[in-house]
Symmetry: C2
Subunit: 382 residues, 2 copies
């Protein structure tokens, strides 16, 4: 299948591109390197050196014998977007081309304006480009479990039937996110749902939990193929940051009491989910929403697991409880459904001690590159 | 009270500014004339000549003895927005600074991108400017009844309690709009609700139905003070268009069977509602949502009323049923609540035959300016 991976230079984008290429799809990646620029601007280099995208595609070709096409450009630019879609004629479009950081979106007006403009501008252009050039293509949009927030009722997979005063109707599940970033993802869903209704697009919206992990089958071919792995307070996800803190001997920084619960998944399960969804597309006029996570943990539970795995490698590390820089409920009900992806065939990787030990060992081999100055949170929500 | 009216050059903005000025508030209006530019671009002049905003403010001062301050600039420009709020230090901010046309937002990619960028960009900057310069100011945001769409359950005023699997929680009422324009209004609500939670802003979101009417107490002082009255298929609201069609002897164009039902209000009730809300602000950390309309009519019912009122003035006009250019349910349940504004003191103006006759007479005196070439819809949703 002809698959366009937008945001193909990022943590998940590049790993996805290689995985889909490995299993036989014709992949084109597109990126404008905005992620790299912002990492440089915040002086947050990734843990592993990441060659330029064209170079990674060349190395991938060398090791796999498979070609990944590379296009450099900005998807908020309509002329570029239209040409890209017209030239490649994708059958599936994987939309990672958004700024994914909650703290970045809360840093100041300039940052939040950039997140708003970039995330909605790319989604809007992608929808119009599909409509104009390849209306049967399947758009796969990365959403986030954070769109739901922490409601006091069970979280369903995207939709809910509401009974009210003796009548019923089915609606998008109510959403209220915990940052401007999460709010842009809610808006994306509104935007996609509108155009699905009007233009009968095929869309899958994946409500993904925080991802952890480093190595994937494809990235193990050569260190230059490793993902763009962040561990700082702005761009790093929590478990990846904990692993780096353990290796650096810095106490694991838990925000608040750490009783916040979230649904997590391994990067290898992200790749599985995306492949399953690419190969089992949504119907025309369907907005299919899947909750993409594998296990629910509290933050303090994750920290304990990292402490324990580190101990087996002779590393002693503590947990440090910080004043929560975010505005979020620390004690809350949390019971999210997640059956659609297992029904499509997802075989989950669980967060075992072995998984954590492997992550720690891999990070240890890059220990000299750890820069601890960006690990403590500086952005406060209030 | 110091009241900032954003989008103060528009149909409702200018009438609101005069009304609040007349009752003793200190009013500053701001506009970038984007509305005028787009009307010119689409070659849709308003029915009455509308002097420049500064000139209208000067004439208003002459007739009323009250000063309205005028600021020209673009609220998607952060530096301008910050300076405006910092200089004026508003206690209430009335946010009309959005592109309000559903057909315009569906015309092509360029138009929808402009609506998305303008509507969310202005709202985002206004929220940040209030937070940075006047955090206790009350933001009054014009939403639309169209955000709710036509659900199969009763429409409440902004919020709904959902019982699900033995538990309950309260959420924003589910929204799904009928155009990209309506979708940007839904997104605005998401954006405001996020910042209300985080920054404890005071916000009132007015879900307004289609407005009709021309003369207000203040605009009757001088013809130069009349509102920017549109009757074309892109920028005109339905009842205003029907009145102009009747005067021009053009059959009233009903989209589809005209059984679509909506909640309508007279421009004089918009002014009342805004004044009531300005003088009874939302609490800190409250997103107060009011459904702002007075009576529910079907489109074909409105057309019949115009036909009948016209007949009393000796005008014979027919109703013409067009293929519906929009994608909307023509037969649907519709039972929207609207108690909050009456509770604040709204004394509704009903759509009587006298009201229609007055509108028809006023339009007759400008009959020579009617340009019929833009009355038929050209934008199709699908």
């Amino acid at each position: 299948m002809r698959v366009l991976v937008l945001g193909g230079d990022g943590y998940l984008g590049w790993a996805t591109a290689m995985h889909l290429s490995a299993v036989g799809h014709d992949v084109c990646v597109c990126d404008n390197f905005l992620g790299r620029k912002l990492h440089q601007q915040f002086d947050c280099e990734p843990l592993f050196p990441v060659p330029q995208l064209e170079e990674r595609a060349r190395i991938w070709g060398e090791y796999s014998g498979r070609h990944i096409e590379v296009k450099i450009g900005d998807l908020t630019n309509w002329a570029f977007t239209l040409r890209l879609f017209n030239d490649f004629q994708p059958e599936a479009v994987i939309h990672y081309a958004e700024l994914p950081s909650a703290p970045f979106s809360m840093a100041d007006q300039e940052c939040s304006a950039l997140v708003l403009h970039n995330n909605l501008g790319t989604t809007h252009n992608i929808v119009h480009a599909v409509h104009e050039t390849c209306p049967h293509a399947h758009i796969i949009k990365l959403g986030t479990m954070g769109e739901y927030g922490t409601p006091n009722i069970d979280i369903e997979e995207g939709w809910i039937e509401v009974a009210h005063k003796g009548r019923t109707d089915k609606f998008l599940y109510p959403r209220q996110g915990g940052s401007l970033y999460h709010t842009t993802k809610i808006m994306d869903t509104d935007l996609l749902w509108f155009y699905v209704r009007i233009w009968k697009l095929r869309v899958t919206d994946l409500m993904q939990g925080p991802v952890y992990g480093i190595a994937t089958k494809e990235s193990q071919l050569n260190p230059a193929l490793m993902p763009h792995f962040s561990y700082d307070a702005v761009f790093g996800t929590v478990l990846n940051r904990f692993v780096v803190q353990a290796v650096a001997g810095i106490p694991l920084t838990v925000y608040g009491r750490g009783t916040q619960r979230r649904g997590f998944l391994n990067i290898n399960d992200t790749l599985q989910c995306i492949r399953l969804v690419v190969e089992n597309p949504a119907a025309e006029g369907e907005l299919r929403i899947c909750n993409q996570f594998v296990e629910v943990f509290s933050i303090v539970d994750l920290a304990s697991r990292v402490v324990s795995a580190a101990r087996t490698l002779g590393i002693d590390v503590e947990v440090s409880f910080l004043d929560n820089p975010r505005a979020e409920a620390e004690t809350h009900y949390y019971n999210p459904t997640h059956t659609k992806l297992p029904e499509l065939g997802l075989q989950p990787h669980l967060l075992t001690e072995e998984t954590l030990i492997e992550m720690i060992k891999l990070v240890q081999s890059f220990r000299d590159r750890i820069d601890s100055k960006h690990i403590l949170p500086k952005v406060r929500w209030q």
